[in-house]
């Protein structure tokens, strides 16, 4: 009974990271846009949402495409998580814990780095700012093994 409950918790954890990665990958650029409009440009939440809606498919600066670009590394991390944690033997708690920490640290790193980049790009607008949207996915993919190694190291310390 306990093993079954524990397995179910591990599955929930895996799926939570999987779907959070996908949805945050898509949502971070939009959330950042709304947040900057509200805090920097003193717009109401409704106005900021309207702005987002207007620019979703705007020519030249489509926030829909920005979200898709941003989501690419997040989706790859989500798929990696699904297989890496989903296929891990649940009875081997040590291994599972280490893998889980590795994935969790990577995901948190992705979210933090992506959110920071989007907010900064919008907060300090620049003619070349849009380049950040192109480089960010590549950078995140490059950071993936580093984040995982770091998390795995932390996991090794926790799950002895």
């Amino acid at each position: 009974m306990t093993t079954q409950r524990s397995n179910s918790l591990l599955t929930t954890f895996t799926l939570l990271i999987y779907w959070s990665c996908i949805l945050l990958g898509l949502g971070i650029p939009w959330i950042a846009t709304i947040a900057v409009d509200v805090w920097k440009h003193d717009q109401s939440l409704a106005q900021a949402t309207h702005q987002l809606q207007l620019h979703l498919f705007a020519p030249g600066f489509s926030l829909f495409l920005v979200a898709i670009f941003n989501a690419v590394p997040f989706v790859l991390l989500a798929i990696f998580t699904l297989f890496h944690l989903g296929l891990a033997p649940s009875e081997d708690r040590k291994l599972w814990g280490r893998r889980g920490t590795g994935v969790l640290v990577t995901a948190l790193g992705f979210v933090g780095f992506s959110a920071w980049t989007h907010v900064m790009t919008l907060w300090y607008p620049d003619a070349q700012g849009a380049l950040a949207y192109l480089f960010l996915p590549v950078l995140l993919l490059g950071l993936m093994p580093i984040g995982y190694a770091l998390g795995r190291g932390v996991g090794t310390l926790i799950f002895r």
């Binding site: 895996t14 999987y18 498919f57 705007a58 020519p59 989500a78 699904l82 944690l85």
Partner: protein, 328 residues
């Protein structure tokens, strides 16, 4: 997790991606037109302006939006949407763009400087399609109102054709008493192929201008003249770019120097985009007698479905033949 659970979650991800793909597909190309027309008819200026830009990018398939765009571009009152709506028209419908031009032309003589300013801005937004408006714009290049003169200079730069007439107006503007107008005039010589011995002399004088901004820009323009963009670069851009408007206009500005582009320009006379056919004909017109190899293609363009393209083809043929007889 079981393999089935993994498979289901992957399937859900694929379904989400497919859904996003469908959403994107629905909002691009001709499928987006009804939504953009609704946005044009809204009372939200920003939504209207973005919709006009979107329709401009769609081009010919946005034909259904033409009546609304014409209405917005010619509506009474002062509105920033006039220029945006007018600017969207040339890639969609040349005749509609000309209709807007005809509506705004008399307003260049309006006693209200705000209206003259707006008229010049709208004509500039129409770009090379507003070629017949150049004569009227030149008539107010010495308008008493500074902002009107500034808009006229910018409009001349955007229309760019016929280059000799435009050059005359810009040369006059280079000596304008107001520095903002001189600055606007110098800007028109940056990276755009417009050049003549008179303009070089005037730009040299401006390097000593009392206004440092003007003087600096004039120096930059003169420096960039040492590395002009060659015809082959424009031809390469024509082959590689989706939007051929810019390289075609650059070739048209070059005139006889662009003779190397005649075969490419001839082939573009059958483009499915009327604006490209129009600009190709305009470029052949400015090349003149050395574009004689294009004459058979231009003859065929006299049967073009678009009256503005037919008119441009006729003018090009005339330019080729007239100059040919003058030379012989």
């Amino acid at each position: 997790m079981t393999r089935r659970q993994i498979g289901l979650n992957l399937g859900a991800l694929v379904a989400l991606m497919a859904l996003l793909g469908v959403v994107y597909w629905q909002h691009t190309g001709a499928r987006a037109v009804p939504g953009l027309i609704d946005a044009l008819q809204s009372h939200d200026l920003q939504a209207q302006m973005l919709a006009a830009q979107g329709l401009k990018d769609i081009g010919v398939p946005a034909q259904a939006a033409v009546p609304v765009l014409v209405e917005l571009a010619t509506a009474n009152g002062r509105s920033s949407i006039h220029s945006e709506a007018a600017g969207a028209l040339p890639p969609i419908d040349l005749s509609a763009a000309r209709k807007v031009m005809i509506t705004w032309l008399p307003k260049l003589q309006d006693p209200d400087p705000q209206i003259r300013r707006e008229a010049a801005a709208v004509l500039g937004a129409l770009g090379p399609v507003a070629k017949p408006a150049v004569h009227s714009l030149l008539g107010i290049v010495d308008d008493p109102n500074t902002v009107v003169r500034d808009r006229v200079v910018r409009a001349l730069g955007a229309i760019a054709l016929p280059s000799d007439m435009v050059m005359g107006g810009l040369l006059q503007a280079l000596r304008d008493p107001e520095w903002t107008v001189r600055y606007a005039a110098v800007t028109q010589f940056s990276f755009n192929g417009l050049s003549s011995p008179e303009s070089v002399a005037a730009l040299r004088e401006l390097t000593q201008d009392s206004n440092q901004t003007v003087a600096r820009l004039a120096k930059l323009v003169l420096t960039s003249r040492d590395h002009p963009i060659s015809v082959s670069v424009h031809l390469l851009t024509l082959d590689q770019s989706n939007d051929r408007t810019y390289p075609l206009l650059q070739l048209a500005k070059l005139g006889p120097q662009a003779v190397e582009a005649v075969p490419k320009l001839s082939s573009l006379l059958t483009s499915d985009k009327p604006l490209e056919r129009y600009l190709a004909a305009c470029a052949l017109e400015t090349i003149g007698p050395t574009a004689k190899d294009a004459a058979p293609y231009l003859q065929r363009s006299l049967e073009d479905s678009d009256p503005i393209v037919r008119e441009a083809a006729a003018e090009a043929i005339q330019a080729i033949e007239n100059k040919k007889s003058a030379a012989s």
